[in-house]
Amino acid sequence: MIAEIGHALLWLAAALACMTLLAGALHLLAPKPELAALVRPASVAQGVLTLIAFALLMALFIRSDMSVELVARNSHSLKPMIFKIAGTWGNHEGSMLLWLTILGLSGGLIALFERRLRDDTLIATLTAQAALSIGFFAFLLFSSNPFNRLPVPPPDGAGLNPLLQDVGLAFHPPTLYIGYVGLSVAFSFAVGALITREIGPNFARAMRPWVLGSWIFLTLGITAGSYWAYYELGWGGWWFWDPVENVSLIPWLAGAALLHSVSVTATRDALRAWTVMLAVVAFSMSMLGTFIVRSGLLTSVHSFAVDPERGTFLLVLMAIYIGGALTLFALRAGALAEGKRFALMSREGALVANNLLLTVILAVVLLGTLYPILAEAMGEKVSIGPPYYDAVTGPIALVLFMLMVTGPLLKWRRDDGSVLKGRLPAMIAAAMLVLAGLIAFGGSIGVLPLLGMMVAAFVAVGSLAPLWKRNLRRTPLTIWGMVIAHLGVAVALAGIAAESAFIKEKLVAAAPGDTIEVGPYRVQFRGVKPVAGPNWTAIDAELVVVRPVGIDQILRPQARDYPGLMGAAPVETKEADFITLPGGHLFANIGQAMTDAGGVTRYQIAVKWKPLVWWIWTGGIMIALGGLLAMLGRAQLLDLWRRRRLAKAQERFA
């Protein structure tokens, strides 16, 4: 019964979306207030119905209702509850429903709370949002219905890949999805504003929190994904330039560019066309990511050809939305009034440069991701790995980071560079200090990591420069947000560069009692013992840090066996373990065991010393935190509260 209700609610929500689109479009052609009055309530109702449908799907997973195909394929009655819940979105159909739920809820939020826009622009925005929803509703209902029943329910489900049974990973996809959908809201705003020609500060201010919010979630999602790859995939890399990772990075880059250009439009009413264009690009990139991942194109052009339905559907949707938006843009671009002017040497100028470099990096990553697919279609098999991305994006990113901290030191419109000149010596001195330190103690280091550490010092000092001589207690939250986010970039960059320059690793086949030396550390392998978890058994290796003394911590890398349940293949996973020390991570893996002729069992053990590696994710979290502060600083609610407090204070003194 639950499944049928959920299915019916989805159809109802889709019908509401159709109604919104129709009413909105008719109103925009020729004003019809009675139709326009339907748009807001219908958008809210659509969001609520989709949310209930999603909650019902979750209930099916919680109850382990195996008569529903999706549950039977992706869940198991013995799975821990948290993974049953996460199973709701850990598959294609559920994740598309989640996407629609977030899309519907954001439409509802706009309908309820957005007051800055002109009424017709708001209606146009909600209409665009409804048009987006209809496409995804069609996709869900016609090609991937999550509520499909099985004629004969199996006794139990097929389970979920053990590698994916990780709390961090359970919340990774929804985080990214919120980010993607936020960009689609920005896209709707851009389309709405293009339709009614209201492109200016109001439009930019209405769009900004969505861009910022989505970018915060993308930042957190990417950071969490990188951390997951680091400890779960077992060999301690934190970024692989894998296409799956790239398609989350590309919208992030577009979002970063958009959030800076939307600030220019909001504050200075300049860069109007560019902001609108970027909103279209950012959404296109998030859809392209979904398309590449969901169509099977990543695995191979061949697997796409085997099951082309979903891929073709998404491709057509993408063509309609992006093509439609670009056509609208082309029609309206000429009529867009020119924004306010600015000199090259100005904050706008610096932000334009930063946008340009971000876009270039985006193009480079996009090219690297799509090139193998195109080459394969042409009959050549090519793989593009980290060397390409490191060599091309590295230098551009370093220039970008240095420009990043100069912008805030310039005034809007026109600047003579006096403040920048005043702060530059300190930034350069920091970089030189790092260089001197590395020459004296660093040993031989590659050029890119060396430059990376120098630029990190430059950026760290530069990012703090806007606080110079300010009253810190009166500094607005938005400035703090910017400073913390930019400082986060420096922290992450330092981590990346130091880890790649100074990593030490040792791989041995160790018998109990052996010691392993890596970098400044010596660990002793004490032996293994068996342990058991809820749905796995494992052996735990015990590695004790014996030098330097006083660390008193034990590394327990684990090799786990998940027995195959109900026909699923048994899977082994290796859980790495690490100790976080001020200077970095001491990281250990365990591999296979082997018993030699003398009866001594030795285990493959890899120990790595990764200097500053945890700075990478700390930096990512700082960037997200900075975004959050910037958003709070601009939130209307906080503003209202502050005004009310001020009014009260005045009353008291009166």
Binding site: W235, T299, V301, S303, R341, A363, P372, P387, V392, Q604
Partner: protein, 148 residues
């Protein structure tokens, strides 16, 4: 400065940046794009000894052996048509097992053995390594059953 001039300068700066990045990317693509080969293509002479490349194939049934040093493994990669020996020093990824797909980065040695620096496994056991669409999924077991 007139608006026109300013736009011209902005546009030319943008053009320079894009062209520079394009050159950088094109250079790196021609240097760094590693060719993907299957054992059959290696046998047909499409790989040069010592050149960085990526080998894809299925791990042949019963072929994984550990060398006495305890940390090196040797196995046979096959695509159903040809097979070649691979050596790898390190801990293999979780999803690396017999009769399943793998992709190895490394180079071909003069003695015909592929020396892997890195073996890739993916997030999902249903995931086949990229560009392996042509290799039959049961290649690993069929070869073992019918010794050539």
């Amino acid at each position: 400065m007139k608006a026109k001039h300013q736009r011209l300068i902005l546009a030319s700066l943008a053009a320079v940046a894009v062209a520079g990045a394009g050159l950088l990317a094109a250079g790196a693509l021609s240097d760094e794009a590693a060719y993907f080969r299957t054992p059959d293509e290696v046998r047909a002479g499409q790989a040069t000894v010592g050149e960085a490349m990526r080998l894809g194939g299925m791990v042949q049934k019963g072929s994984i052996e550990r060398l006495p040093d305890g940390v090196t493994i040797r196995f046979v990669a096959t695509d159903g048509k040809a097979s070649m020996p691979v050596v790898f020093t390190g801990i293999v990824p979780d999803l690396f097992k017999e009769e399943s797909g793998m992709v190895a980065d490394g180079k071909l040695r003069a003695d015909g053995v592929f020396e892997a620096e890195r073996i890739l496994a993916k997030h999902d056991e249903r995931y086949m390594p990229p560009q392996m669409g042509d290799i039959p999924k049961d290649a690993g077991s069929t070869i073992a059953d019918t010794p050539a």
